[in-house]
Assembly symmetry: D2
Homo-oligomer: 344 residues x 4
Amino acid sequence: MLGFAVVGYGYWGPNIVRNLWETPRASVRWVCDLQTERLAGVRSRYPAVQITEDFDLVLADPGVDAVVIATPVSTHFPLAMRALQAGKHVLVEKPIACRAADAERLVHEAERRGLVLAVDHTFLHTGAVRKMRELVRGMGEIYYYDSVRVNLGLFQHDVSVVWDLAVHDLSILDYVIPVRPTAVSATGVSHVAGEPENIAYLTLHFPGNFIAHIHVNWLAPVKVRQTLIGGSNKMVIYDDLEPSEKIKVYDRGITVSGSPARVGEAIHQMRVGYRTGDMTAPKLDTTEALATELRDFVTCVERRETPVADGRSGLRVVRILEAATRSLALRGETVQLENERAFA
Amino acid sequence: MLGFAVVGYGYWGPNIVRNLWETPRASVRWVCDLQTERLAGVRSRYPAVQITEDFDLVLADPGVDAVVIATPVSTHFPLAMRALQAGKHVLVEKPIACRAADAERLVHEAERRGLVLAVDHTFLHTGAVRKMRELVRGMGEIYYYDSVRVNLGLFQHDVSVVWDLAVHDLSILDYVIPVRPTAVSATGVSHVAGEPENIAYLTLHFPGNFIAHIHVNWLAPVKVRQTLIGGSNKMVIYDDLEPSEKIKVYDRGITVSGSPARVGEAIHQMRVGYRTGDMTAPKLDTTEALATELRDFVTCVERRETPVADGRSGLRVVRILEAATRSLALRGETVQLENERAFA
Amino acid sequence: MLGFAVVGYGYWGPNIVRNLWETPRASVRWVCDLQTERLAGVRSRYPAVQITEDFDLVLADPGVDAVVIATPVSTHFPLAMRALQAGKHVLVEKPIACRAADAERLVHEAERRGLVLAVDHTFLHTGAVRKMRELVRGMGEIYYYDSVRVNLGLFQHDVSVVWDLAVHDLSILDYVIPVRPTAVSATGVSHVAGEPENIAYLTLHFPGNFIAHIHVNWLAPVKVRQTLIGGSNKMVIYDDLEPSEKIKVYDRGITVSGSPARVGEAIHQMRVGYRTGDMTAPKLDTTEALATELRDFVTCVERRETPVADGRSGLRVVRILEAATRSLALRGETVQLENERAFA
Amino acid sequence: MLGFAVVGYGYWGPNIVRNLWETPRASVRWVCDLQTERLAGVRSRYPAVQITEDFDLVLADPGVDAVVIATPVSTHFPLAMRALQAGKHVLVEKPIACRAADAERLVHEAERRGLVLAVDHTFLHTGAVRKMRELVRGMGEIYYYDSVRVNLGLFQHDVSVVWDLAVHDLSILDYVIPVRPTAVSATGVSHVAGEPENIAYLTLHFPGNFIAHIHVNWLAPVKVRQTLIGGSNKMVIYDDLEPSEKIKVYDRGITVSGSPARVGEAIHQMRVGYRTGDMTAPKLDTTEALATELRDFVTCVERRETPVADGRSGLRVVRILEAATRSLALRGETVQLENERAFA
């Protein structure tokens, strides 16, 4: 039985506690939050759980094996670092930290101590995204990844729409697509003076001619959650708002015949044709993502395995967020992504 | 009665002839094309129309008042220039020319001679786009314009997807939004060696914090034609594939209270709230766009008026296409748009 | 403060307890169920609530003012009757009873004792259905009401799809449309030997030329919840699965000019034309229906008012369910509905 | 080369002539209509085709092998009969006649003379309906067929919505489902005094527990063309308004375990479970239905084969239309369908 403490009981914390409650071989020992009325909510709902405003008390409890951090973004790094230093396994809300340098330090600390560090990239645990990862392996050459994530959303004061929404797409992209971006170009604006960007467009450049693009917007009249992946054999549409057919696989594409030959001379010998076939919406696992994620985390801690969304994937995502923020400030100028090798 | 010649009888030419046939005070005197079998099609369908492969013959006919040019893009400029120089009014397929310099020369030539020069930005004549222009005037501050125009499309060998598809969005944007872009940033790739880009993303920068973005793609599994316009009072969705409710107006937006004050100090005093109300899909005029366009063109020629899509709007669109092409080659680097004043 | 007992803690009971918990001036004193493990669930979740398997204990508690009955349909009548006889106000799950005669006895008993008797026709408390009732008053002459409620559903052993699903439509119809049906004609079949009908079609006949039709099916590949109401001024579509635009009002209809005159002679003088205008999706109240319903019930008990869904509306619905069941057995033969006057 | 005459050049006639024009081994010799301006339209468009108001002239031409009748419904029988008596093969617009007795006489006459008699059940020649017929053979036991065909439609003065719209569903049902209905029950009303029904619901009873239902309505705010077919192995949705995925096949259904045993005793031993799997939208042939139909008709005439929609299928459909009309007048009373054997 693994002892858990949950830090932060605002929007996401209650979902974590509710799911941990049902997770085999896990018990919730503590909920920690700075707001008294939230803790009162825990007490009435889960009388057996200890509540406190004092994080040190939590860390001092030898019965706590793992800490889940669901606090505001700016506190992820210090809280996670203290938990690791106290010898606890850690699962952090996304994004893992505000700065890539901080994320790196967390990764180092966890690896040094042999602790499990996971980041709550929830979507990776949905049936739809897992199916998409599986499908991508059979789609031939992957041409592009295009995602739209817009709605009339809760404006954040401390982070831009990129850190709030694009973080989901970046984590899915990191999981589904087996190559890493080399540069990012982002444009966007803020429509409220003094506030961060509420609309943004990110292009991710990759080796070869694969391209990824993400559109995020807090000011859209309707909610859209749609991703297109184009491959040479198949194409996929992932619509997260569809009640059951979230993934559609199209047996469509282009056929190229002839040879490109010398450009400017024989170029018109190439023929680009079309191929259309059946569309299939595969059956998906409908287990709640958070339930799967917590079960996986428990198993990883027990066996000292690497979780699906480990600290390094959290770090990769933060690196792109950081580069995108720089590019935004430069009105779309391409910003190179640090070579991953350099890190190791 | 205005005498017309139609040059080019490939994909679009037959639609022009069919609609001109029904246009009051217009008569089709010539159809000109280089392919004999196409001209045979004209003869069997419209026995009264003269056919020829010789453009000079057409220009020499004093009964020809106006020439419609529906030929491949690269020939727009020379044919249109010759027609203007022969004293004919001209309606050119979009884009008006391959290069902004050529488009400028056409505009100058037409203005010098007092001839009507129009470009076939067909969408401006649809009930949906006209309604959108009207709506934009009552939407308060306009925040953004976002358009997606993707499908499994006919690959073009001579022009990229930007010149083929984004030209529609740029012409609609030019018509609907009363401000002009100052710079463009575009990313995209080609997935067939030796061929132009088949997927592209354009961001248009404007004075203030209005932003426009266009996504065009020939390699999408499904057809999408969707535009979002966000304003401070209302938001609009234009879905051209909806059979009847192409325009939806949402009485939604944000409410900002408090004052931004000094950044870093009082920023959290601002409150961004939400407002949601009814959605309305206004009834739209369903007349075929090309019929409206040709009727307007005839009226403009008769009264020497400026058409809805005149040579200058054709030029503005080509300038952006050219700048986007440069930005594409620079992987998204922002390219300034020539100051329009400089032209006049 | 009104003391409540909830009887039945299976599928719906937990929702009732959760909502009662948040209802002002209401307190949950008892949960009663025959299954021990369900009561254990109550204890862990609501330690302050008394649990029992003994209904008499509940009725004997003078602190219990009202009883909510959420047990299997066949027990609605005996439990509700005993609660009324013990002087408690009663809210019963739908349908109010298995037989119209039983429903009548409940209505009589409640009226005789001056107790509030309500039936849990939950949909009447949704923003969508309340808006629909309001809209119907301005739609001119009402032509028809057509509803489709199908899905791949949980087969019931004790009741047919009519008692399980059409009961919702009948309660909405009773609430939204101000006239009462005079007869019903129903067809349907069972596809599992020995089981009740799993697909059925009901036509309700009314005075004049208003007609209502309900299609219910447990064996559909997809879930549909769609109602059309046609009127001479407006038409409405209610789609309960739409996330936000559940109600759409169409300014469409027919225009009849000329006079019908003598049939067989002047009939062709009549002209039926069309009128199309805007479509509007009004903003709806999104409060959870059960929360509104329980608050209304408390107010009705406090003030001895008639609830929106009182015993008589529960009775009217059961009368139609009974008549439809007879018509089903007669392969669609029309069954007259008992005159409501006869009851009073 | 088969010589054709087309009688009736109103709404559908021009489509027939246009498609016949492209049909191999067919030539259009005559178009016959009573309205001079329509014939003028033929002359300007097809100068080589002879035009006349005199049907006898057409029948007297030995170069005419086949006659296509696209006139008002009430004239189908007399014109088709005269054409058969003149030794011509005949293709008649749907429905084949106003009365089953007349349809029978046409079938007899054609069979007696060895002539091909076809009815223009156009939908049977679409890729979607042909695919559906093919699919039904692998769907296991067929449970139900449910179709909705509604719109804000052109009111007909001479026929009810059943003869105008349900005729399509009945012809598709006859083609797709290999069993014949035994009885029909129909309800509906007219909302315009003196006019035929504009809304109707038909239930078709079959041997066993297969059931079919058709909803037709000229007064709906939106257009719907949707058919559900439920089978024990698969379920199908056919949505004719979908641009490309008109047919969706769902690998869903129920699983029945246990045995029904003696009713009233062991009934609860039965378990009805659910099975859900992938959904597939098969690629469909997109050839224009009328083109396929005319090509088939030509082949049938050349080889004296039975067309897909022969006179007997036209007769079966009219018999159901007639029975439905009787049932409508009886407010849903079941009307038996004449035994097909009796005819032969």
